[in-house]
Symmetry: C2
């Protein structure tokens, strides 16, 4: 296997020895299939903070696996104003929004210097016809996006500001934890305005809600450094929102 990795491409770290292989595309593949997948990764791409990986309207060619860095995806209106539709971190996929119409339906912006693996979608399709477990995984990635979006709809449709921010923080630390980071401390890569856009709130509301959480001793907030002191309280906020609506119904 090893000689393959060396001869195939100038990329030093292949899928097989990437530390994200259990979260990313090779998830569940055996060594042989992982190597075949690795051959699809034709390039790596570095994106500076603030730059875009692709823009709304761009031709869709490839999907991207994030190796390092953070992204936001947003739907930009003609005038430059945008609605954030998601935040993505290492091991997550970008670009699937383009599958439907062969052009991207949103813009992906790096929130910090980032590196992605470029996977031409036609090659992924080809390979997934040959490797059922890869096909399954592609379907799961696409389907997972649907489930995530449903949850955001529930959040936007039925939660109040505090509940939304609590759910947001819990979701972030959970994903960070899966990547080996702390369950209680995190650094936000996005501005209050971007969080607000994602949660359907104004930046002032985000700021105020953070202050409220801090007053109540639920979190410690220092700019973008967040220390979760009482995760239980956050969970109760989110869960309680369901109960409350149930009683109201």
């Amino acid at each position: 296997m090893d000689h393959h990795i060396k001869t195939l491409s100038p990329i030093k770290v292949g899928c097989a020895n990437c530390n994200l292989k259990d979260l990313c595309m090779p998830m569940g593949l055996n060594l042989t299939d992982t190597e075949r997948l690795n051959q699809v990764v034709t390039a790596r791409k570095r994106i500076k903070r603030g730059k875009t990986l692709y823009r709304l309207g761009d031709k869709f060619n490839s999907i991207y696996a994030i190796r390092t860095g953070y992204f936001k995806t947003c739907v930009t209106t003609e005038d430059g104003r945008d609605q954030v539709t998601g935040f993505q971190m290492a091991g997550e996929m970008l670009g699937l929004d383009g599958v439907m119409s062969d052009e991207h339906s949103c813009t992906a912006v790096a929130l910090e210097d980032a590196e992605v693996c470029v996977m031409p979608f036609e090659d992924i399709e080809q390979l997934s016809r040959e490797i059922p477990s890869l096909q399954r995984h592609v379907h799961k990635i696409l389907g997972g996006e649907i489930v995530r979006d449903q949850y955001v709809m529930l959040l936007l449709g039925s939660m109040r500001a505090e509940e939304r921010l609590a759910a947001f923080l819990l979701n972030l630390v959970e994903r960070l934890h899966a990547r080996g980071f702390s369950q209680t401390e995190l650094i936000l890569r996005m501005t209050r305005e971007e969080i607000g856009s994602y949660l359907g709130l104004k930046l002032e509301t985000i700021s105020r809600t953070f202050s409220k959480f801090a007053e109540e001793g639920i979190v410690d907030v220092n700019q973008r450094h967040i220390h979760i002191l009482d995760a239980q309280a956050l969970h109760q906020l989110v869960d309680h929102s369901n109960c409350k609506h149930a009683l109201a119904a």
Copy 2:
């Protein structure tokens, strides 16, 4: 080809002569491939109004193409209260929410007596490994769901009540028009409460907004019978929402 249809199943109407074939799963397939797809449709299922096709937590086995009738999908909390995540009509697919975790992440309820074609997902996967254009179509269906959900997030995250209802009505008539119905008249299959849940508003707000539209001569509202008198005005409401935000930024 014809003898296949007759011998294979007791189903009288196959995909090849279904009047939804250009909107539904066989879209873009040639006759031979359409017939192979038809063999995957092992059953039809009738669902009475108010009954569920599947429930949150059910094992995921199949996806469903709607032949007749309307559905809503909703995320039900333990207490029976639910957030509507979408409305589906003839030619659209249901069940994709289960692809990710092998169990359904929402509940599909018939809003009127309905009939669906049952397609075991493993068979669809098998066939799409053999027919690239079917594979592409499965990807497009999954990807299309993502794009649609993004739009709903934009709607919930940044539009006001009037804008949301305008967008909702326009989306409905557009889909109905694609199915040969009027561009100006429609009958709502769902209650004000269900519309409200979908749009992140209360049923009273929906009712009031309908009344406001009626006062302004934009639509004619008679219970669930809606006559759109000024589609232009509705479009302006939706488009204007973007402009306004752009100016505010």
